[in-house]
Symmetry: C2
Subunit: 428 residues, 2 copies
Amino acid sequence: MIGCGTVGSGVAKLLRDEASRYAARAGRGIELRRVLVRDAAKAKARGLMADELITTDADAFFATDGLDIIVEVAGGRGPVADYVRRALEAGKPVVTANKALLAAEGAELFALARRHGACIAFEASCAGGIPIVTALKFGLMANRIDAMYGILNGTCNYILTEMTQRGIDYDTALSQAQALGFAEADPALDVSGQDAGQKLAVLASLAFGERVAASDVWCFGVDDLNLADIKFGQELGYDIKLLAIGERTDAGLSLRVHPCFINDREPLAQVHGSFNALSVYGHATGHTMYYGRGAGEMPTAGAVVSDILNIAGGWYPVAFESMNLWPDGHEAAEVASSDELKMRFYLRVNALDVPNVMAQITHVLGESGISISAVLQHESAVGQFVPVVILTHEARQGDIRAAADRIEQLDAINSAPVVIRIIDMPQG
Amino acid sequence: MIGCGTVGSGVAKLLRDEASRYAARAGRGIELRRVLVRDAAKAKARGLMADELITTDADAFFATDGLDIIVEVAGGRGPVADYVRRALEAGKPVVTANKALLAAEGAELFALARRHGACIAFEASCAGGIPIVTALKFGLMANRIDAMYGILNGTCNYILTEMTQRGIDYDTALSQAQALGFAEADPALDVSGQDAGQKLAVLASLAFGERVAASDVWCFGVDDLNLADIKFGQELGYDIKLLAIGERTDAGLSLRVHPCFINDREPLAQVHGSFNALSVYGHATGHTMYYGRGAGEMPTAGAVVSDILNIAGGWYPVAFESMNLWPDGHEAAEVASSDELKMRFYLRVNALDVPNVMAQITHVLGESGISISAVLQHESAVGQFVPVVILTHEARQGDIRAAADRIEQLDAINSAPVVIRIIDMPQG
């Protein structure tokens, strides 16, 4: 095992506590042989394994006798990527929880594994304990997947749930998430949508059978969401979620992470707090959804150990070799331009409450070919800036961007319009 | 393929329309070689395959060259069970959607498959298109499963959703379900809970690693549910669902299907209409839920074809042989007595609205060691029979049964109390 932080500790505990159960299931015993860490004292202090199993020397680690599977739970790239390559080049199966590595270098690593008769298992890399990699690879294999919508970052979902249910603002919700240990001290990777984007890249490769890299995913985070918009959305029957979206469109594959309004009766709208979920739409199976804990010591460790057992049981290497499911066998995805995407939009404009301002705004939208489905403006004293909320019918994203720029130039408007995408999931 | 009804037609369509996609995924072409049916004219009229593939002669069917996989989508037992045995004895992998067969004879059939170097794949047998068999077998392998709660019958869930959301009575909702094709002309297998019980038997074997037969599952249906109780439940914050429940308890494995009140904020409470879902609680992964269409031509056919591809790709037979997951390797389950189960209860008593009646009822409950957590009685004219609703704290089911019998004997009571179980799912 490479790494012994939160997830690695969980793996060590499971292998220690469930040894007989696992040996019965996989048909062979599973034993932790060596653990490569950066800080041996810290790993020893955890008391989860004999001290002599712990080493900081990569050469000593790889020279250990009887390493049948390499488990990488260190995370990140750099030296860890080198260790994974070294394991694969030695023909060893690798179990990894490392979404950043797979999203950036997945196709190369899968090809490397194939050349050396090794394999890569990665259930833990996406949505922690939820077995969505297994579902996409094997359970839904008869389907052409048309779309998927995921809540793949528990920190963001916790923040948005708190803002929605308790009416607290973003900064307060983020502080709470940090106090509870959901969010890192530097939460940028989470709240920018990048973390969800890496997971989407891995899942989209599997689901769509096209090679996707993290850089193909357009990410927009939750960090400038305003409580006022969340409340207006609720009033109109929508809940806010940070969704990771993969859709086949006429313009190519759409791959993106951004805050969305979704109908508050959608199953995904019921996913609260730090839970994750993925809705998948297959041409045969229709809508399926997978729900559970996307992070945390034991859920993630459970996914790692399931991969270990599936390799130890001998079937996963066969599936890796024979099934054409992996990014190295796919063509690079043709990614749709974000301007060409069509969806509905929520716009909030802070408008001076004077005669004719609504006419000016709707005129701009009309000229851009954007039609309006609902307007919400509450009563206020005349002559003040008041929020005007407009929901559009389906429109090109490029047209909305251009119209928002023009609206911002109007004399009666004092700031850039807030634009939030409305996602209507397939019915049926 | 044995059988060519709704599911079989869906399988034939998928294999015809997706031939090149499937060949690429599984690494070999998948071709329908022969179809055994009871009514050849009906099968030919569907126009899904060349007429000469269709036969009513089992010997001719089994003598066909190049049968690598036998797909059984006829359903039921009797001759179909013989065909499955014949296929396994010939060493052929079998894909089946037949929950009734597996729930009754699963352990024997798995042992037979093993003796002849064959295997059985059965994703389609439980919850149609939702890949919960794959999730339980492979995705959650690191877990000791402690409990699972499933909405496994779409007909019943449709009926209960209609009663809850539209306030229509049971008979009207059932007629609607029949008109829409969800319910059979004879709906007894669905509404009695037996269909969900068969699926629970199959899933419980996998989840708990104990051998479970359909006869181990205690079933209680939806057919005598009263709209009034559904409304009282809603008033108290509960939704009614027919749940298939498997739980480890101190008294053994609890296996049962019955209507339940569940907190209306539970994810399972959001499963509406003909959708199915299964919530699973594992000791490492915690709560995961799987949601989707539990029946219908294409969802079920999708599950059958996924099994076919997983066998064609070569890995499933390896997993079947090496992983100790199958009921034939397990001890028979020790099933908990239903009297010993502890849970909370909803009681509705039709009581004459006279002084002292509440004291009499609560006296009986108190003597049985049952404590009350909530009471609901609406105002009414004195001297009439009015419904009194009582929620209990956790109580032994045997004690509730005894108390209900005593309450029925009270002079001020005109009918047997209605008892509905309240299920509190594990938190976390």
